[in-house]
Each structure stands twice: as structure tokens, then as C-alpha cells.
């Protein structure tokens, strides 16, 4: 093959590739096909492997549990006593919270339904450049793109792409992740930005007069429409005025250990409208009789 023919072939292939690439950018046909087929096969291979691994691990753990059961029992008894004491101490606060909730009739958000999912793997293959995990639920089992993910500790991320029974989740530590948050105590709004695996998160656009303190918990504000309001996301580590912008420079740490996730909860939108009714109108105030001068 002559050099001229080689160049011609390379040029034709390049044009074909760019044509396919821009056509796919418009239609997303190949992305959908790859997600439906490639991701589905990956999930189908990994799900039984993960189940077998879990079974083997649980058998191993059970053996060790038996060996160290006495020791653990002692520790647990001590912990129960400690927790009972703490429960007693917090009982009054809990009762107060219940009373306050009943008082303001806080609407319980029924627009999200939790669904359990197993983590199948972390990022896979040369094409996985974003900070992500693969889970065992797809668009036919509650894992549609955009669905938020949480654990009992806090927010994990949201579904990026899905096949029928598996999906890929974008973690909140990825540099392309943006989450609208509030600080829990001072209610200062900001945007939480991921900085990559193992890096601290950054909170942008927090006003300089905001009284955010280190140790404060950041919760989702729900203003971005992607996440339900009130999910804990991160803990503030460092607060200082920014040298470059008119906002505060805040560093935070995710509450969830994203490197060792095993099970997660998907918050599937139920489609139910968010209850806006805050309860009945307040009852007519019955006080002492009005003075005669005030009556018409």
C-alpha cells in the first residue's frame, strides 16, 4: 500500500469517525445502545459474582464471629448501657422535637421512595474517567438517570446512565458534580463542588457575612431540583474569606465513605405532588373579652 493510499484511508476513517461522533452527540443513539447492551452485560456478569463473594464473606465472617463472640458480647453490653444512658439524656430533646413538629405541622415529603441497591463495582474500563460506581438497579428497577442515592449517613450522588438492570452513579466527589446545599445551623446557601477522588469538597458562592463554622453539617437545599431537601451531605472543615472572589472559601468532607460503599438507597421520585397544605387554618383566638371602647 502506498503512502498516498494510506493517507487517503486515514483521512476517510477520520471523517467517518467525526461524522459518527457528531451524529451521536445530537441523537445519543450510540450512547444509549452502549448503555443498554454493554452496561447490561457487565451487570449480568458482576451480579452473580458479587452475590457469591458476599456469601463467601458472610460465611468467613460468621466463623470469626463465633470465635470472638464472647469478647464482642461484652463490648456490645457496654455499648448498650452507654446508648441507653444517651437515649435517656436525649429523650427530652426528642419529645420537644415531636411537639415542635406537630406544632408547625411540617409536611412529610412523600415525593421520594427509597429503594435498596447493591454496589457492583467502582469505575470500570479505560472509558470510566468520572468518579463513579456501578449499582444493581437500572431504569426498569428504579435507577433512572438523575435518581439521587443516599446511605444512612448521607448523600452519595446521582444516577448518570442506566441500562435495564444496572446503572452508573456519579459520585458527589467528581469535579463535574454540583449540589445546592445549606449549612444546617446558619442556613447559609452555597453550591457544593467535587474536586476528585480523595480530595476535599469545596462550597462556592457562600456570602462573606455567613456565619458558617467548622464542624457544621451541610444539607441539600433542594433548590437545584435534583435532590430532596434536607439530606446531610458533608461536614465543614475549614472556613476562610476567599483571596480571589467576594465569597467565602469553604472546604468540606463527605459524610459517606465513598471508597467503601456496599449498599445504597435510591430515592425514586413517586410522582406524587409535594404536599403544600400546611394544615388547617389556625383556630379563632379566644381570649379575654374585648374592652367596651373597642367594640363598635
Amino acid at each position: 500500500m502506498t503512502l498516498r493510499r494510506l493517507l487517503l484511508l486515514a483521512g476517510t476513517l477520520l471523517i467517518l469517525f467525526l461524522g459518527m461522533y457528531s451524529w451521536n452527540q445530537r441523537t445519543r443513539f450510540l450512547d444509549d445502545l452502549a448503555a443498554k447492551l454493554g452496561l447490561e452485560i457487565t451487570g449480568a456478569v458482576l451480579t452473580p459474582i458479587r452475590s457469591a463473594q458476599d456469601t463467601a464473606e458472610s460465611m468467613w465472617d460468621r466463623y470469626f464471629d463465633l470465635v470472638s463472640v464472647r469478647e464482642e458480647n461484652e463490648a456490645l453490653k457496654q455499648k448498650v448501657a452507654e446508648l441507653e444512658a444517651r437515649l435517656l439524656a436525649n429523650g427530652e430533646d426528642l419529645a420537644e422535637l415531636k411537639r415542635l413538629r406537630a406544632l408547625v405541622q411540617l409536611p412529610v415529603d412523600q415525593t421520594w421512595r427509597p429503594l435498596g441497591a447493591r454496589v457492583l463495582s467502582g469505575r470500570m474500563g479505560p472509558n470510566a474517567v468520572l468518579d463513579s460506581i456501578t449499582i444493581s438497579r437500572g431504569y426498569s428497577t428504579g435507577g433512572r438517570p438523575g435518581t439521587p442515592l443516599v446511605t444512612h449517613l448521607g448523600l452519595v450522588g446521582r444516577v448518570l446512565k442506566a441500562s435495564a438492570h444496572s446503572s452508573i452513579v456519579l459520585l458527589l466527589t467528581d469535579p463535574s458534580s454540583r449540589i445546592a446545599v445549606f449549612s444546617q445551623e446558619t442556613r447559609a446557601p452555597g453550591i457544593l463542588v467535587g474536586m476528585g477522588t480523595g480530595q476535599k469538597l469545596e462550597v462556592n458562592f457562600v456570602q462573606r457575612d455567613a456565619k458558617v463554622k467548622p464542624g457544621e453539617i451541610l444539607i441539600t437545599s433542594g433548590l437545584d431540583g435534583k435532590y430532596p431537601k434536607g439530606i446531610p451531605v458533608a461536614k465543614v472543615l475549614k472556613v476562610a474569606p476567599s483571596d480571589y472572589t467576594q465569597f467565602m472559601a469553604i472546604k468540606a468532607d463527605p459524610l459517606v465513605d465513598l471508597q467503601h460503599l456496599e449498599e445504597v438507597l435510591l430515592l425514586e421520585p413517586t410522582g406524587a405532588p409535594r404536599p403544600l397544605d400546611l394544615g388547617e387554618a389556625p383556630k379563632e383566638f379566644i381570649g379575654p373579652p374585648a374592652p367596651k371602647s373597642a367594640t363598635p
Binding site: 476513517l13 469517525f17 459518527m20 461522533y21 451521536n24 452527540q25 450510540l30 450512547d31 445502545l33 452502549a34 448503555a35 443498554k36 447492551l37 454493554g38 452496561l39 447490561e40 452485560i41 457487565t42 456478569v45 458482576l46 459474582i49 457492583l120 463495582s121 467502582g122 469505575r123 470500570m124 474500563g125 479505560p126 472509558n127 470510566a128 474517567v129 468520572l130 463513579s132 456501578t134 448518570l160 446512565k161 441500562s163 452508573i168 456519579l170 469535579p175 463535574s176 476528585g196 477522588t197
Partner: protein
């Protein structure tokens, strides 16, 4: 290798590759399969395996569709260039090819990042390309051994 055992070998290889890729982030095990297909000039199997490799990698990845095609095109071009100079069954050839593939791995990531509007993690990509370069020759040696292994030969 009969047609049935060859198909079974490739299916086992793909399942093993997915499991290994789940364990090592960023690693492409299927590249080794592509090198074996090129060495054996098995274009009939390549016709269905290469699109499947591409769909698998694109499906389990997070980049928009296209980067894996460039990556596998680089593998094929580098292999064809190496074929002019070396004997393709030679370990040294595969060793040199894998070194070039390590560089190609980084080059593809660098090329596709601005095109797909994604940030390039220089340190992470360098680490992954190094792992890829180290992995290929040893995996190739192991896989070629299993492909040429015949129980009837052992009995005789």
C-alpha cells in the same frame, strides 16, 4: 481450536475481563483479546468481538461514545506498524507494543478530554496508562498459554 471451544474461550475471556476490570479501575483487559485476534489473523471472530468489546467498554464507561473506538484504532495501528519490524508471536514485540499502548492510552485521554468537555486528571491518567502497559505482556503470555493448551497433547 474448534469453533465451539473458540467461542466458549472468548465468552469466558470476556466474563473474566469484566471481573478483572471491576477490580482494577481504568484497566482495559479486552485489549489483550484484540491483540490475540490480530496475531491469529482471526478476522471472522473479530467481526463480532470487536463491536462487542467497544459496546462493553463504552457501556461501562462514563465518557460520551467515541473514545474507545479511537483507543482500539490506536491498538490496531500500532500492531500493524510493529508487524513490519517484528515477529508478532515474540514476547519482546508484545512488551514493546504494550509500552507504546501505555503512551497511546494517555494520548487518547488527553485528546478526548477537551473534545468531550471533561477535565483531564493528569496524575490519575498517567498511573492508569502505566498499569495498562505493565499488565498487557503478562496477561498476553497467560492467555496465549491457555489458548494453545490442549488436554489431548498432555495425554500423549
Amino acid at each position: 481450536m474448534s469453533k465451539f471451544s473458540s467461542t466458549a474461550w472468548w465468552l469466558c475471556f470476556m466474563a473474566g475481563a469484566i471481573i478483572l476490570q471491576a477490580a482494577v479501575p481504568g484497566l482495559d483487559v479486552l485489549t489483550v483479546g484484540l491483540i490475540i485476534l490480530l496475531q491469529e489473523r482471526d478476522y471472522k471472530n473479530m467481526l463480532w468481538l470487536l463491536p462487542l468489546f467497544i459496546l462493553l467498554q463504552e457501556g461501562m464507561g462514563t465518557r460520551p461514545f467515541g473514545a474507545v473506538i479511537v483507543w482500539y484504532a490506536a491498538v490496531i495501528v500500532l500492531f500493524k506498524m510493529g508487524r513490519w519490524l517484528f515477529e508478532v508471536e515474540n514476547f519482546i514485540f508484545v512488551f514493546l507494543l504494550s509500552a507504546c499502548l501505555g503512551a497511546a492510552y494517555y494520548a487518547v485521554a488527553w485528546l478526548m478530554a477537551p473534545l468531550q468537555n471533561l477535565p483531564l486528571d493528569v496524575q490519575g491518567t498517567l498511573d492508569r496508562s502505566l498499569i495498562q502497559a505493565i499488565f498487557v505482556p503478562f496477561a498476553w503470555r497467560l492467555l496465549v498459554a491457555t489458548r494453545h493448551w490442549n488436554p489431548h497433547d498432555q495425554e500423549n
